[in-house]
Each structure stands twice: as structure tokens, then as C-alpha cells.
């Protein structure tokens, strides 16, 4: 498990109606608990005696730090999503330094990096296909999530192979004493979760799954949408965990995770091809935690991780399957990690070794001719898989002296693929100075490497982007990031302000935007290397409380890219270089009863528009060879027009769209019975029904604007037992 290199104080309040005699202290520096007693103050006893308390209020305070955010399901509750599903990744979009891609999508651009530079892990296993439904919500069911750590800087050396942010999702440990679970349903998803003990206090399990109802609903809508065929979207995920504790010092966990998205379009009369897209994850993980002593722990983990996307087209001749084309991008990983954690007094040390074998299928194409069932299949395949080995040694050291906490991490990796190999070192340095108990300064430096490239198409955060391995032609991506900031705690408020600078190199991008819609199996001719820089200011304010909590984030930033063959080799703005980003989330308890409560949620998102390239002029062109020697009725009018004339495009990303503004509201009803708790949440995404511009284009003699999501209501009901 990753060692956190900074100290936090967690504030929470617990009220107990029962009498108890225990007050506890938490470790991990300055975590304190304030116990309150409803009785009148008693004089100090001359001798020790047992005091029975009627009720106790324990109050702790959480002190946030810059660059790093830990949150639980409580923090994500105020967020209203498009589909009404709680989403642990959606919260990231509200943090400073994070620019969103397409509205409603989970494509995040953190401090100027690409969306594919972010890393998402589930119990330290990377999850490459982290979204469902083309980026609309994440694959991480809230039922399995204990907490989430988000790092935009000051990263632990135990994690690497990414260039931007790290989102560590920790799963819950199954209940070792009793059974409980929950069931939830919304118009789009049905989900269930069950956890319990198989052997009391020794062996326990958790099973959680979700399944979409979209395919059934779309069938109902088919007639309204005038579809010529059938669209069948299916989505599911399943998580299983076994937790075994044979001894107080030994813990074994085995877990499996499966997610699958499948979308199919079938023509009813075989006149046009059938299409299908499929992607998913399969993860198997084993871990062993051995507490050698109170201060020394050994964590060992092995995993198998498979991520794939497949696009398929079937063509028919006389209603018989004639040809099938398949394009696959896949990634298979097998890894073994071992980390030794040592903590003594004001020192923390973590050292470890990791070895990984990664196989990438970068746009492997197969063409089947004839009936698949016969022996006369002709299978042509291109782009065989590439196999890489990554061996890593790392170490993290943290030392706290009085009000100063210094940490240093180094991660040395050996990467080999085909005839290319490289040594890369990542360095993470941080200094935190508490000027007083309530404020301080923070400085950090991070150096990253990423050993694969994600060629991004639409910024939806979907999983259909092409992944290619780093090699001689496209070397590992690298970045350096500097951060300086300060933080202040005022009662229940936490404020932070900081500035960052980041430079990146060996970024991979398509030369031509046309490739964003199709994975080309000749991608080597279509991809180039380039650089990027980003700098900005970030502000965050939070208030955590029992009755209401809120957060406000603001970013002011600038991000550029430089590619030799794009924009005539001149620097151009990054597509999601949103100059201003302002996010607010809040939740207030409107009613509290003995067996329930109600709450109102409000969130707003304001940002500068993203950047686009638009046509600004038309001019006479040279027709392609013998263009007019075709049957004219075979050509569309626009095709003919673009053969004769040419469009002059603006500078790359030379225009900024108007600002983006969205307000979401939600209301929740929580009711507790003896054995059950039910919760119903109603939400409205984009309550203003503002048509936020996503795209500006010129069509049919008119400028037009494309907006993605209007006002969308949602409802979800869950039952917990």
C-alpha cells in the first residue's frame, strides 16, 4: 500500500448514545480527537477512578494539503451526474488544476497534460479502461470504494508510468462479523452489493455488480428515433473480493474485477454493414500483508490485468456473412510488486521492487473472408503485439523535524521493448513547513515518465483511444513539474493557494485530426512527437461540517503544445487550455430526524470555453486527378464542393468558444428502519438548461453550435441492509 508522505488531520464528529470508557488517539501525525462529555465538569480526582460517560462527542480535524486530496463517498454525494449515478471519478473534475473535456465526460486534463496521462488504480492495480458508456461514468462502483486519493503532485515513488495525476482507489475490506449489502436502481443501472463473513473474523467476502438497462430502454425508443436497425448497448461490471486473516500479522486478499461494454448496431435488412464495439477490463489480484512488527510491514502483490477494445464490422452478401473486419487494441499486464514500509517516530521509509511484463496490441487488424465456420477463412492480420518488460526499484523517505516535513522519493525503471531499452528515473521531492498550527507552505518537484502513449481522439474519456507502446520511434513521455503554495486553516475552513509549472516532452499526437474517429492500423505514419508546457495558479477553499459542507476551486492557467508538423511547426494552444475554471460544490442538511434526514445539493461549474480550429475562408482548389470523370450522382454535393474548393482553416486551436456554465441541483431522502436504510436521490443536471457550446462549425451556409447535454433529470433509489 502506498505510504502517504504528508501528514493529515482528520476532523470528524461521532456521537454515541451508549456509555463507553475509551478515548483513542490516531497516529499518522497530528490526527487528534477531542472528547466531549455532557456531564458538568468534575474536579480533578485525587486518585484514579472509573468514570462512566453518558454520551461522548469526539471531534477531530482534518488538515488538507495542496496537491493531494483524499475523499470518500460523502464528498461525492453533492455531485449530480448525467445518469444520476454516484461516481468517484466525477469529483476530480471539481478540483483545482483540472480541466474537463467534453461536457459530462470523464476526460480530465490535469495541469495541462493529456487525459491519457492520468493513472487510475484500484488497490494499486492500474485500470486502463476506467469508464463506461463512452466516458459518461466510471467503472468503479461506489459500493466497493473505501476512499480515493488524488495526487496532482507530490507523488509517491511507489507509483509510476504516468505523466499527470494519480487516482488511487482503495476498496473496502469485507465485513468480518456480519452480513450486509445494498441494492440500487435508477433508469440506467441496477446494482447490488453483498458482504459478509464466511469464517468469523477470519474469512470474509464481498460481491458487487452493476448492469445497465439501456438496451431495454432503447428498444422502447426505437420507433421514436426512426432507426433503421437495432442499437444494443450493454454494460456490466462485477467485483469479488476475499479477505483472509489467518493471523493477526498476516492478511491475504484475493480480488477479481470485470467490466464490459458492448455496443452493437445491426441493420434489419443486411443492406449496410453491422457494427459492434466492445471494451472491458479483467483484473485478478493477490496480495499479502505481513506486519513484521509495529513499525515494519511487508506488502506483496501480484496481478494480471487485461484491457481491450475491439471494433467489428460485418458485411453481408445476399444476407450471408461475407466479410468481417476486426480492429483490436489490447493490453495485457502481469506484475509482481513488493514494498517494505518502515515507520519509527518521525521517520517513514518505503522501499520496493516491481517487475512487470506488458503486451500491447496496437490496432491489430484481422480480416475474415467467407463464412467463419468453414475452413476457407482467409485471415489477414497486421500489427502483431509488442511485448515490453519494466523493472523498477523505488524508495520513499520522509522526515519530520519540528514544523518541517521533508520527503524524497526516487523511482528507477528499466524499460525494454524489441531492440529498444532505456533507464528512466522519476524523482519526487517535497517540503512542507508549518508556520503555525493553522498555516504553512508547501513546495514540491516531480519528475515523471510514461512508457506508453494514448492517442486521443474525442475528449470524452472513453476507452476507444489507441494505446501504443513506447519504443525507439516514440520514446517514453517525460515531464517535470514544480509547485509552490501555502495553506491556511480557519476553524472549519481550509484554504490553499499555489502555483505550478510543468513541461512535457515526447508527447504523441495524431498529425491530422481526422484520425480521432478511427483507429488506423498504419498509425506509425500518422503519429508524431512533440512537447508541451503548462503553468498556472490554483486556489481551493473547503468547509467540512455536519450540517453543511462546501468547496470552491479556482484555476488560472495556460497550456501550449509544440509539434513540428502541426500548425506549421509553431506553438499553439492546447485544446483544453481553459483560462479560468471555477467549481463549486455544496451540500446542506435540510431536515434531521431520529430515523432519517434530507439534504440539498448544489454544484456549479464555470470555465472558459475550450479551443477549436474553424474554417475561415474558401478558395479555389485543384481537383483530384480525373475527379470530374465520375458519375455525378455517386457524389454528395459537399463532396463535390470540397473537391473543387478548399477551406482555409484558422490557426490550430485559434478560436476559443464562449464560456461554459452549468448548475446542477439534487435532493436526497434518507430513511432508516430497524434493518434497512433507504435512500432516494433526485437530481437535475444542467438545471439552467443552458446550451453550452461544445463545437462550432459552418454548415449549409450558416454557423452552428453543437451542445451535448440539455437539462437532464435523474432519480436513483437504493436500499441498504
Amino acid at each position: 500500500m502506498t505510504v502517504h508522505v504528508f501528514s493529515r488531520i482528520l476532523r470528524f464528529t461521532i456521537k454515541h448514545k451508549r456509555t463507553f470508557s475509551l478515548i483513542f488517539l490516531c497516529c499518522l501525525s497530528s490526527f487528534y480527537v477531542e472528547a466531549q462529555n455532557d456531564r458538568p465538569e468534575q474536579p480533578a480526582p485525587d486518585t484514579a477512578r472509573i468514570v462512566t460517560l453518558d454520551s461522548v462527542v469526539i471531534t477531530g480535524s482534518r488538515l488538507r494539503r495542496n496537491n493531494t486530496y483524499q475523499y470518500t463517498l460523502n464528498e461525492i454525494k453533492p455531485l449530480v451526474t448525467v445518469l444520476g449515478e454516484q461516481d468517484v471519478l466525477r469529483y476530480i473534475g471539481t478540483l483545482p488544476g483540472v480541466s474537463q473535456g467534453m461536457e459530462g465526460g470523464l476526460g480530465f486534463f490535469v495541469r495541462g497534460s493529456n487525459s491519457g496521462n492520468n493513472r487510475f488504480t484500484l488497490d494499486d492495480v492500474p485500470v486502463y479502461g476506467n469508464t463506461h458508456l463512452f466516458g459518461l461514468f466510471s467503472v468503479f462502483s461506489p459500493d466497493i470504494v473505501e476512499n480515493v486519493n488524488f495526487f496532482s503532485g507530490k507523488l509517491p515513488a511507489s507509483s509510476g508510468d504516468f505523466l499527470s495525476s494519480l487516482t488511487q482507489i482503495s476498496s473496502k475490506n469485507p465485513d468480518t462479523e456480519s452480513y450486509h449489502g445494498n441494492f440500487s436502481i435508477s433508469p440506467f443501472l441496477v446494482g447490488a452489493n453483498l458482504t459478509g463473513d464466511l469464517v468469523k473474523n477470519k474469512l470474509s467476502f464481498q460481491v458487487a455488480g452493476r448492469y445497465s438497462l439501456l438496451s431495454q430502454e432503447i428498444r422502447l425508443l426505437e420507433s421514436m428515433l426512426e432507426m433503421e436497425g437495432d442499437i444494443v448497448p450493454e454494460m456490466a461490471d462485477l467485483y469479488v473480493k476475499l479477505h483472509y486473516r489467518p493471523h493477526a500479522n498476516h492478511t491475504l486478499n484475493a480480488s477479481g474485477y470485470y467490466s464490459n461494454d458492448y455496443f452493437k448496431f445491426e441493420n434489419s435488412n443486411f443492406s449496410s454493414p453491422n457494427f459492434a464495439e466492445n471494451w472491458g477490463n479483467k483484473i485478478f489480484r493477490l496480495s499479502w500483508n505481513w506486519s513484521l512488527s509495529d513499525s515494519l510491514q511487508l506488502n506483496t502483490m501480484a496481478y494480471y490485468n487485461r484491457f481491450f477494445t475491439v471494433q467489428k464490422q460485418q458485411m453481408f452478401n445476399n444476407n450471408v456473412l461475407d466479410k468481417e473486419f476486426r480492429m483490436q487494441t489490447a493490453l495485457n499486464e502481469q506484475a509482481l510488486h513488493s514494498t517494505l514500509n518502515y515507520q519509527m517516530g518521525n521517520r517513514k521509509v518505503a522501499v520496493g521492487l516491481q517487475s512487470m511484463r506488458r503486451e500491447i496490441y496496437p490496432a491489430s487488424r484481422k480480416i475474415y473472408t467467407g463464412n467463419r465456420d468453414t475452413e476457407s477463412n482467409n485471415v489477414q492480420s497486421v500489427n502483431p503485439p509488442s511485448s515490453a518488460v519494466i523493472i523498477t526499484a523505488f524508495g520513499d523517505y520522509e522526515y519530520k523535524y519540528k514544523s518541517v516535513t521533508a520527503s524524497a522519493g526516487i523511482r528507477e525503471s528499466y524499460y525494454r521493448i524489441h531492440d529498444y531499452h532505456s533507464f528512466d528515473n522519476n524523482i519526487h521531492l517535497a517540503l512542507s513547513i508549518e508556520l503555525s498550527k493553522k498555516n504553512g507552505l508547501e513546495l514540491s518537484y516531480d519528475r515523471f515518465s510514461q512508457f506508453y502513449h494514448v492517442l486521443e481522439g474525442l475528449p470524452v474519456g472513453w476507452n476507444l483511444d489507441l494505446m501504443i507502446p513506447s519504443d525507439k520511434q516514440f520514446q517514453p513521455e517525460k515531464a517535470q513539474q514544480f509547485y509552490v503554495g501555502g495553506f491556511q486553516t480557519i476553524q472549519q475552513f481550509f484554504l490553499s493557494l499555489g502555483a505550478y509549472y510543468k513541461n512535457m516532452k515526447n508527447l504523441a499526437s495524431y498529425k491530422n485530426p481526422a484520425n480521432i474517429f478511427s483507429i488506423q492500423d498504419n498509425w506509425r505514419d500518422e503519429v508524431i512527437n512533440g512537447k508541451g508546457t503548462s503553468y498556472g495558479l490554483e486556489f481551493r477553499g473547503e468547509r467540512s461540517g455536519e450540517d453543511w459542507n462546501a468547496s470552491l476551486s479556482y484555476s488560472l492557467s495556460k497550456t501550449d503544445r509544440l509539434f513540428k508538423e502541426i500548425n506549421n511547426g509553431e506553438k499553439f494552444p492546447f485544446k483544453f487550455d481553459r483560462r479560468h475554471i471555477l467549481n463549486f460544490t455544496g451540500q446542506i442538511r435540510t431536515r434531521q430526524r431520529q430515523n432519517g434526514k434530507q439534504y440539498f445539493s448544489l454544484s456549479s461549474s464555470f470555465s472558459s470555453g475550450h479551443n477549436i480550429t474553424v474554417p475561415i475562408a474558401m478558395y479555389m482548389g485543384v481537383e483530384p486527378p480525373f475527379w470530374s470523370w465520375q458519375l455525378s450522382n455517386d457524389l454528395s454535393i459537399k463532396e463535390q464542393e470540397n473537391a473543387m474548393y478548399r477551406q482555409l482553416m484558422s490557426d490550430v486551436n485559434g478560436y476559443s468558444l464562449p464560456y461554459y456554465l452549468r448548475i446542477d441541483v439534487g435532493y436526497g431522502f434518507l430513511h432508516t428502519w430497524k434493518y434497512f436504510t433507504s435512500e432516494c436521490t433526485i437530481g437535475v443536471f444542467n438545471v439552467l438548461n443552458r446550451q453550452n457550446p461544445y463545437l462550432l462549425f459552418y454548415d449549409e451556409g450558416q454557423w452552428k453550435q453543437l451542445s451535448i447535454f440539455p437539462l437532464i433529470p435523474s432519480i436513483k433509489w437504493s436500499l441498504e441492509f
Binding site: 467534453m102 463512452f134 432507426m227 442499437i231 448497448p233 455496443f263 452493437k264 448496431f265 449496410s272 457494427f275 464495439e277 461475407d322 480480416i367 474525442l458 472513453w462 476507444l464 491530422n512 485530426p513 481526422a514 480521432i516 474517429f517 478511427s518 488506423q520 498504419n522 505514419d525 474553424v614 475561415i616 475562408a617 474558401m618 478558395y619 479555389m620 482548389g621 485543384v622 483530384p624 486527378p625 480525373f626 470523370w629 465520375q630 455517386d634 454528395s636 459537399k638 463532396e639 473537391a643 477551406q647 482555409l648 482553416m649 463545437l695 462550432l696 462549425f697 459552418y698 454548415d699 450558416q702 454557423w703 453550435q705 453543437l706 451542445s707 451535448i708 447535454f709 440539455p710 437532464i712
Partner: protein, 318 residues
Amino acid sequence: MMICGFLRKTGTGLVLILLTACVKELSYNIDGAILPVVNCVLSNDTVQKLTLTQSVRIDEAYGFKEIRDAEITLWADEAIAGRFERTGYATWQLHYQPVIGQAYRLTVKLADGTELTATTTMPADNRIVPAWETDHYPARHFRQTTAENPCWIFVLSNRNGEIDTEHPSLSDKSLLRYALGTDHPSVDRFNEDETASDLVERISVPVSLRYIRTQPSDITGEGILFSVQTNYSGYDFVYFRTASAEYDQYLKSSCRKLIAYEDEDDPIQWFNEDRVYSNIENGLGIFAAYSDRFIYYHYNFFIYYDSTRIFPDIAFYD
């Protein structure tokens, strides 16, 4: 909403996202660019043509104004190869046959003092000869022994046999073939379309639309044997157009842009940000060069017509 048309490009994913999307018209003032535009592509003809116009704002009608007052000079190194003369609305020409391997510069001096310039080099033909011994429908075979420059291959078919076989030339009954494929090892697959493969019976290679582009490469030994497959009618002109670097970039970027507009209803064109190549300094357009040669197949024999030779080669095959 009719979905079927654009699924070929975007797949089902964009469908679901656009289910809730809305498009509205708006007034948008965008700074247009009114620039001089010159188009001149040198060929192995004896007459070279050029157009000189102005661009228009994207939201204006496509009435391209000509630029009438200009001095247009073609330079071969530092010597004047010739001056273009105006022959019609926006149209200029020069009687000159370019020399293979020669570097050319075009200068256009406008009345307001603006000077447009561009350079190109007349490419040497890639040496490609028929390898008819292995021909079988729908494939014609060829052997390539040089590939210094990019090559664009396309096929024009006559719908009947009314061709003068001693001096074959295109007629008004010739049609550009829409779907064709090749197994050339250096083929550029940028315009491949799997869904078009059913347009060519028994084709065994991926299908490209209208044109096949092959990349330059080093060829040693006996050369590369490759096929071009399409629906040959029996009266076919197989063209090999060797392109200068400028013409190659211009043509590829133009064809790539066209792909987005194949289907009138396809919203993929809304997202199109492709740029067409231009090498005109202080203006727009293209100054480039190409060299054509073709092989004419007449049912059971072919005529190998080398544009640089006076007499064609003729061979018979069964």
C-alpha cells in the same frame, strides 16, 4: 434522427452521445481571410496552366474574383523558363514542357506590390512496367524498379472498346474507378475503406477509394511485384502519377478532407479540422508538379504508353 449514414465513420459511440445533443444556428463573426490564391501544377504536357483568384470569407458566396493584374514568371534555377499569359477569366497558361529533375520557382507579382512565391521540382517517373504473366481478374500485375517519389495510381475504364489502340486516349465514355486495391508493400492506407470491398468482385486486398498512394522507398534487385485490383472493364487506362513532394502533400491532404464529406448526413464533418497543404508564400494554393504515365489494357492485349516516349510498347497476352 437517421443514424445509419454516419455509423461507418463514427461507430455507435457517437450515436449515444449525440442522442441528447442539439444543434442551433447562430450569428458568429469570424475574421475571414481574403488572400490571393494561385494554383499551378506542372505536368509533362507542353502547355502549363495556372489560375489566379482571391479567397472569400467562409460565409460569403463562392464567387471567386480573379486577380487580373499580375506578372507571373516561371523560373528554372535563376533563369526565366517563361511568363504566363492570361487566356481567360482567372486562367493563365504557358507553353513550356518541364524538364525532369529540374527545380522550378514560381513568382507572382501583384499590382499592390505583393509577391507570391513557391518552389517545386519536376519528379522523375517511377519505373513501373507491366508484369502481365500473372494477370487474372480482377488483378493486373506490375513490377516497380524505382520509387524515388510518391506515386498515385488510379484507373479509368471505358465502357466500350471504341479506343484507337495505336494512339489510346481517354474519351467521354471513360470513368474513374471508385474502388481499387493493391498489395504494394509501400501502400499508404489513409483512404482505405473496408466497406467498399464488396464493390470489387473477388478482390483479395484492402480497398482504397479512387486513388492508391504508394510511398517512396529504396528498391533493390528485381524490384517489387504488385497488383492493382479493380473492376476492369476490358478497356482500361491504369495511370501512374509520380508526384513532387508538394503535389503529394496537397493531394493527400485534399483527399483526406474529402473523406469527411462522403455522406451528406454524416456529422463527422462538423468535427473536421483538417488543413489542406499549401506552399504559396504570402498566399494560398499550390505550386507543384507531377509526371503521368499510363498503361492501356485493351481486352486481350495492352499498350504500355510512356508519356516521355514517342512510340508506345505493345504486347499481346492471352
